[in-house]
Symmetry: C2
């Protein structure tokens, strides 16, 4: 039995009862012979309450102090968790990000981990302790200031520690049973995925699946750390995310899982679409537009350029971006209107994105056709299309998204009462 | 203009409004040309809420984790305070006890400061920042674990930093106007003391005055750091605690304060009295009793041994101690009854202590007589007496305490409408 890193999110440790429940679970892993490192988030709504307080004293809280403030949240949960474990008769020590050796850059509020030096954790484990580590936080390499890792930071802490400690697995405990073939709130027949590859998980995360964030999966893939996403409220097996399905499931005494052609359907209604209308169709135009956007530090998702209308020599360029960045993008483009040279801007935040993800589609040419047919049969109009080797995404009206997701989920045999997934021949069906 | 350390207690930063008010006050000091270091406690009831949480997960929270938990409180208040100051256009940086170089021993929950190495604070000041430091916390020298300093710890942090940074003054901001000649809740005519010596302040603190704790005053005396206790809710001068009255008050443009014969009257109803009845009156008996108490780690206050009754060769020994320790003391003595050899124990928690403090009493023999006469005139019966060079304390019934304090306060001319304090001749009056 080797070393296990377990991560518990805020909903799992929302109150004293939750903390005691999680403590029992941790002690079980220890009793099973594992060395256990636990990464914990702030309790329930703590972080939101701290943000509220910050906004009351300052409309623009600064990065360094904001990080100092927010990290109080994990400090509370980790100390309580260590106490609860001790109360069960096992030794535990809690460590801040800094004490655990989580070294980051100096970009406050969204720092990146640049090194992990878990000497104190290693010592604590060797002395027979369970080590509890504050998620989401680190210390900057140059200034020794407290930093936070931004959204999903605790998952990243867990994976980074698992990599640095050469853990067998990084278990991400959450309030759902695992990763599903679609959002179960939208698709009642969504199935829990037993195993998914890093690549497919990365595409799902990028396409709107909220269970794991892209950054954490990317980190796990780089260091080949298997992730097991599971519920802290049940003892069920969740979803394994790893490079190879066989090793991990055999280890758990289960039968090997075969790789499905399609992993799942993700959707995202958090984006908006900006269309730059009447752009001269000449080399370098797109570069100017997207340099303007990049300079405003806005991340964009899909980009589509229409075929130029021969008569005018003008074209339209559309892109999608988080709604929260919409205002900033429009302002940046308007400000540089003469430099870019366009007629007008259109802003549309009533869009949704549906993505089909699966490494199997690379070798199954029928997938794309089936995808479009399913959408068409459901009466869903497609506005933009973008593809990767293992993903097809379309933008539709936001109102159509749920119906579209259900239609695609059924068409690809992902519904939980289906006997098996759709089988593709060389030409599709 | 030199360096000033300001300390704000939890009631001064109880909510966002309080934090903004305190921020303005800090910025004023900075505008007046001072380098400003601010030590801040946790907001209002934060610490109590954290203790509640700890008790929910564990009946006996451990020292290390308990300290980790509690220090979250100052982390929140200090980050918010730094944000609020920045919002007023001044630069501020917050520092944990560890970052500020507050090095302690490893006694969790009541660590003692063994060194202060404020290199980062000095740098922050030299760069023009206001430095905000978490009170009450430090880092242990040997294990690098987070520690807390126990009751009144933030005041001690402030004085220790003032000493290490060679500050002009350590300002302790609180919710009262300063140190009074008696508790204003008991004595309506209590006067604010303009200046008091370290020695008298130490005796007042040891006798029940709650404004400053003994430990903090002791630290200030050792390093000769003037303390200015004042209200965070007004701009009034408070009470200066220092070795010499002239220097500090002239600096503030006020007339020199003459040392009063009597500084004030303190009272304390938090103690209980234990009487060990029927102890053989032979050498070594008291030593056995108080070794038993010391081994149980109980701090005692007054000790009185009655004159032995010649007929029996037995005597009684009484001592006072915090009520909270009463049970433990009785248990320890009963357990060692045969070793000590006594008849019975009496426990009385309906007592109160009244103390008169003033360096002037050393050279004024009439003080003691006047003190007893005032109590006698008020019909207060005295049960125990203890004296130091600059203090007389008596134990009475708890019910008599308030009346006794008022009578003594009036008798010594301390009431605020008195024209002047009582003047002593060589023989008293």
């Amino acid at each position: 039995m080797g070393l296990v890193v377990q991560k518990y999110g805020g909903s799992s440790v929302a109150d004293a009862e939750g903390i005691k429940r999680v403590a029992k679970r941790i002690v079980e892993a220890k009793k099973n012979g594992h060395q256990v490192v636990v990464v914990v988030s702030a309790m329930g709504d703590t972080t939101d309450e701290l943000i509220d307080l910050a906004e009351q004293v300052s409309p623009m809280p600064s990065g360094r102090e904001f990080d100092m403030l927010l990290t109080a949240g994990e400090r509370i949960s980790m100390a309580l968790l260590a106490m609860a474990i001790k109360n069960l008769g096992h030794s535990a020590q809690s460590f801040t990000g800094s004490q655990a050796g989580v070294i980051t850059d100096s970009v406050h509020n969204k720092a990146r981990i640049i090194d992990v030096t878990p000497g104190r954790i290693r010592t604590a484990l060797d002395e027979g302790n369970i080590a509890i580590v504050a998620g989401f936080q680190g210390v900057s390499q140059d200034k020794k200031d407290i930093t936070t890792l931004g959204r999903g930071g605790s998952d990243t802490t867990a994976v980074a520690l698992a990599a640095a400690l050469d853990a067998e697995v990084c278990e991400i405990y959450t309030d759902v049973d695992g990763v599903f073939t679609a959002d179960p709130r939208v698709v009642k027949k969504a199935r829990k995925i037993d195993w998914i590859s890093f690549e497919d998980m990365l595409e799902l995360a990028a396409s709107g699946s909220k269970v794991l964030l892209h950054r954490c999966v990317e980190y796990a893939r780089r260091y080949d750390i298997p992730i097991h996403v599971r519920s802290s409220f049940s003892g069920l097996q969740g979803t394994w995310v790893s490079s190879e399905p066989l090793v991990k499931t055999q280890q758990q005494g289960e039968k090997p899982v075969e790789q499905a052609i399609i992993s799942g359907v993700a959707h995202d209604t958090s984006e908006a679409k900006v269309t730059v209308v009447g752009v001269p169709d000449k080399p370098g135009e797109a570069a100017v537009i997207f340099r303007t956007i990049a300079d405003a530090e806005i991340n964009i998702d899909m980009i589509v350029q229409n075929v130029s209308a021969a008569a005018t020599g003008l074209t339209d360029i559309s892109f999608t971006l988080p709604k929260a960045e919409g205002r900033k993008a429009i302002d940046a483009l308007e400000k540089n209107k003469s430099g870019i040279g366009f007629d007008s801007l259109r802003y549309d935040d009533q869009i949704g994105k549906i993505s089909l993800v699966g490494a199997g589609m690379k070798t199954n040419p029928g997938v794309t056709a089936d995808f479009f047919k399913a959408l068409s049969d459901a009466g869903v109009n497609i506005e933009l299309i973008s593809t990767s080797e293992i993903r097809i995404s379309v933008v539709t009206r936001a109102d159509d998204v749920n119906e579209a997701v259900r239609a695609v989920h059924t068409a690809f045999g992902l519904d939980s009462d289906s006997d098996e997934a759709v089988v593709y021949g060389g030409t599709g069906r």
